[in-house]
């Protein structure tokens, strides 16, 4: 190549470095090999996954654990479509991911070429924005813009599709200028008048509560939430995504509310006269049937996305802005103007103690149960960054595994993607090597991306995986039992697997636990071990996970069998 010249692929790698990329999770193919060629001369680490879906979830897990934008890459066609579930997962939970896909050369686009797919068309509904780059000088400004969009305002994935000939095209190393995005101005500063009104409403409230959602984590506002609660001394409930927004050990934390919420948390949400909703979109798993949700309650709704306000529930007082901007200002105002009358905290805390007892099931049986296993592991990992998969174990983990405030609970809340857990945990472990990352998964979810154990072994990370192995899809069986005619043929696996042996074959350490003492032993061994440990927890036929809303509102709960 002549002096002073660059190529699209080189410009891409340079732009990724400039954006602060440390790691790319990727998989090679015919249409992205020029990028791999350019990547060899870069300081960016490449994690070779075993499936593109794994790459997308790893980038997502990396982003959730660190707050930095995760990057994944795949080739055209099937490589790109394999990213789709991961991109949709990140989109539903608002995490910043830049996904780079190779595309067939420009002259071939539209001809149904080998491994051609319209990935920008496919991903419009699951991205904040996407690009099909048309020329090499456009590569650098497009990547810069993609990172800006993914990591500002409401976080979201962005897809950048780069035709192979754009990657190889030489150009005079003069990049196009970045456009001005006239239509993109997220509101981050909360309106002072609205914040003043919120303070006044809080002062008058008699039964106020706080709902924390995933937005608190996105905004890195967990300390602001702690200060807010400290000033108000009112109860806090959380959505699935907002679990680690506030220290789970704090007595004022009533835990998960909603479809699988505790009676105390659901009572608080149902009987309150003022909800301060922080970074939640009032998803249907939280609200239950909308017609009966918080009907006589005023809602102060704080969110960076104005479209979330009034979408599912009417907001009495909207505050559009970054939580990390709004909350400290509201707290400061309350410190000077006074705090609510708040006549009900004591009663709720009493109810919390009672309802929590109801969740400690399984402790009398000699056999291992999910609650018992979670208890043992949470004791062995008091500072865990907990990652879950999707299913019954996920709800148990949300209810029974306390975590500290911060980026310490990672789960697929919106899309509910089985198979998310392992790759997300790998991404989290790479983002936060100083943390003790624990994955809780089930035998159904784990099998969906189990190939990534190889990636985990190669990456040299520390990770503890807890597989709740009951040879069945527990959540599906619970739904079939509750709402269908209880035919379990599709939710029962006839082939029993030994994940400890599988793990050993895939380059990890395997352990097995069938009793409480075995899980205690295995958990403490894993806590001090290097590398990846997979603990196969043999769970017998287990009771369903309760509470569960079975009626027309959040208080029509089924709390347990017999």
């Amino acid at each position: 190549m002549k002096k002073g010249k660059s190529t699209g692929a080189k410009a891409l790698v340079r732009a990724l470095e400039n954006a602060g990329t440390e790691i790319i999770f990727g998989y090679p193919g015919g249409a992205n090999l020029p990028i791999y060629e350019a990547l060899q001369r870069s300081s960016i680490r490449h994690i070779q996954t075993r499936h593109e879906q794994g790459a997308a979830h790893m980038a997502d897990g990396y982003a959730r654990a660190s707050g930095r934008t995760g990057v994944c890459m795949a080739t055209s066609g099937p490589g790109a479509t394999n990213l789709v579930t991961g991109i949709a997962t990140a989109y539903m939970d608002s995490t910043p991911v830049v996904a780079i896909t190779g595309q067939v050369s420009r002259t071939m686009i539209g001809n149904d070429a080998f491994q051609e797919v319209d990935i920008t068309g496919i991903t419009i509904p699951i991205t904040k924005h996407n690009y099909l780059i048309q020329s090499a000088p456009q590569v650098a400004p497009t990547i810069e813009e993609a990172f800006f969009l993914a990591g500002s305002g409401r976080r979201s994935p962005v897809v950048v599709d780069i035709p192979k000939d754009v990657q190889t095209d030489e150009f005079a190393n003069e990049h196009e200028k970045r456009r001005v995005l006239e239509g993109y101005n997220p509101t981050t500063k909360g309106h002072p008048g609205q914040i003043k009104r919120a303070a006044a409403m809080l002062k008058e409230a008699e039964r106020p509560i706080i709902i924390t959602g995933g937005g608190v984590i996105s905004s890195n506002a967990y300390e602001d939430v702690a200060a807010f609660v400290e000033t108000l001394k009112i109860p806090v409930v959380h959505t699935l995504m907002g679990k680690s927004a506030f220290d789970n050990h704090n007595p004022l934390n009533l835990g998960l509310f909603g479809y699988h919420g505790s009676r105390a948390a659901n009572t608080a949400v149902s009987k309150t006269d003022l909800i301060v909703a922080i970074g939640t979109r009032f998803g249907d798993r939280s609200t239950g049937p909308l017609a009966s949700f918080a009907r006589n309650t005023k809602i102060i709704h704080i969110d960076v996305d104005p479209a979330e306000i009034g979408k599912n529930v009417p907001a009495y007082l909207p505050i559009v802005g970054d939580i990390a901007d709004v909350l400290p200002r509201l707290t400061a105002l309350l410190s000077s103007t006074g705090t609510p009358k708040n006549i009900w905290t004591a009663g709720l805390l009493e109810q919390k103690e009672k309802s929590f007892d109801g969740q400690k099931r399984g402790s009398e049986t000699p056999n291992l149960s999910t609650p018992l296993a979670l208890k043992a592991v949470s004791e062995a990992f008091p500072d865990a960054l907990l990652v879950t998969d999707v299913g019954r174990h996920q709800i148990y983990a949300a209810q029974l595994f306390p975590v500290k405030a911060g980026r310490n609970f990672i789960t697929s809340g919106g899309l509910g993607t089985m198979g998310f857990g392992l790759p997300a945990a790998i991404g989290a472990a790479l983002a936060c090597p100083e943390k003790q990352v624990v994955l809780v998964t089930g035998d159904g979810s784990f099998l969906m991306n189990i190939q990534e154990l190889v990636t985990a072994a190669e990456a040299g990370i520390n990770l503890t995986v807890l597989v709740m192995n009951d040879s069945r899809l527990g959540m599906i069986q619970q739904l079939q039992d509750g709402f269908y005619k209880s035919r379990f043929d599709v939710s029962k696996f006839s082939q029993e697997l030994h994940f400890d042996r599988l793990a050993a074959d895939l380059g990890c350490r395997g352990a097995r636990a069938e009793t409480e003492s075995e899980i205690k032993h295995a958990a403490s061994a894993a806590a001090s071990a290097e590398g990846v440990t997979v603990i196969d927890c043999k769970i017998g036929e287990e009771s369903h996970v309760y509470p569960m809303v079975t009626g027309r509102n959040l208080l029509e709960l089924t709390e347990g069998e017999d």
């Binding site: 419009i124 509904p125 969009l149 239509g183 993109y184 996305d305 104005p306 479209a307």
Partner: protein
């Protein structure tokens, strides 16, 4: 209830898909859609008529505003709106009806774009109601073909 929304956006490939896809994805129904260039180079303006209550309209507006290429969204449902639709109607007219049709054309302020023998192509411009009633009145002749645009709309005054 029908709402007229005006969208100013970047005039680039794919913007149509992003906007129309958003409507179908979120379950909003498009009654009509027109798009064209504006006084600003590189920008185009959509006029979309959508059916729904105020809550639906609010969501439509906010979701559109989130599209990166959308610069501004206006809800044009008030009495300061000037709106026009355009229709071309091909009618077959027999000699005995010719005088009657000419009279109607004058009343409707329609224009004759083309007449070859008994086949006339008429042009009609007006607000939705005017175009509706014009086509309705022309129905007494034989309408061979007709086509109408969606609505375009602007607000009175400087802004």
């Amino acid at each position: 209830m029908k709402h007229t929304i005006s969208i100013l956006c970047d005039d680039i490939p794919g913007v149509m898909t992003r906007i129309s896809g958003l409507f179908s994805r979120r379950g909003f129904n498009i009654e009509s859609l027109t798009v064209g260039h504006t006084e600003r180079e590189g920008k185009s303006r959509f006029t979309i008529v959508v059916e729904g209550d105020d809550g639906v309209l609010e969501q439509v507006r906010k979701q559109l505003q989130k599209l990166v290429h959308v610069i501004k969204v206006w809800d044009l449902n008030n009495d300061r709106i000037l709106e026009r639709e355009h229709a071309l109607v091909k009618v077959e007219v027999h000699d005995k009806d010719r005088a009657h049709l000419l009279q109607l054309i004058t009343v409707l302020q329609a224009r004759i774009l083309n007449s070859s023998g008994a086949i006339w192509v008429l042009e009609i411009t007006g607000d939705s109601k005017a175009v509706d009633s014009a086509i309705n009145l022309l129905g007494q002749f034989t309408i061979l073909e007709s086509i109408r645009t969606g609505k375009i709309a602007l607000e009175q005054g400087r802004k």
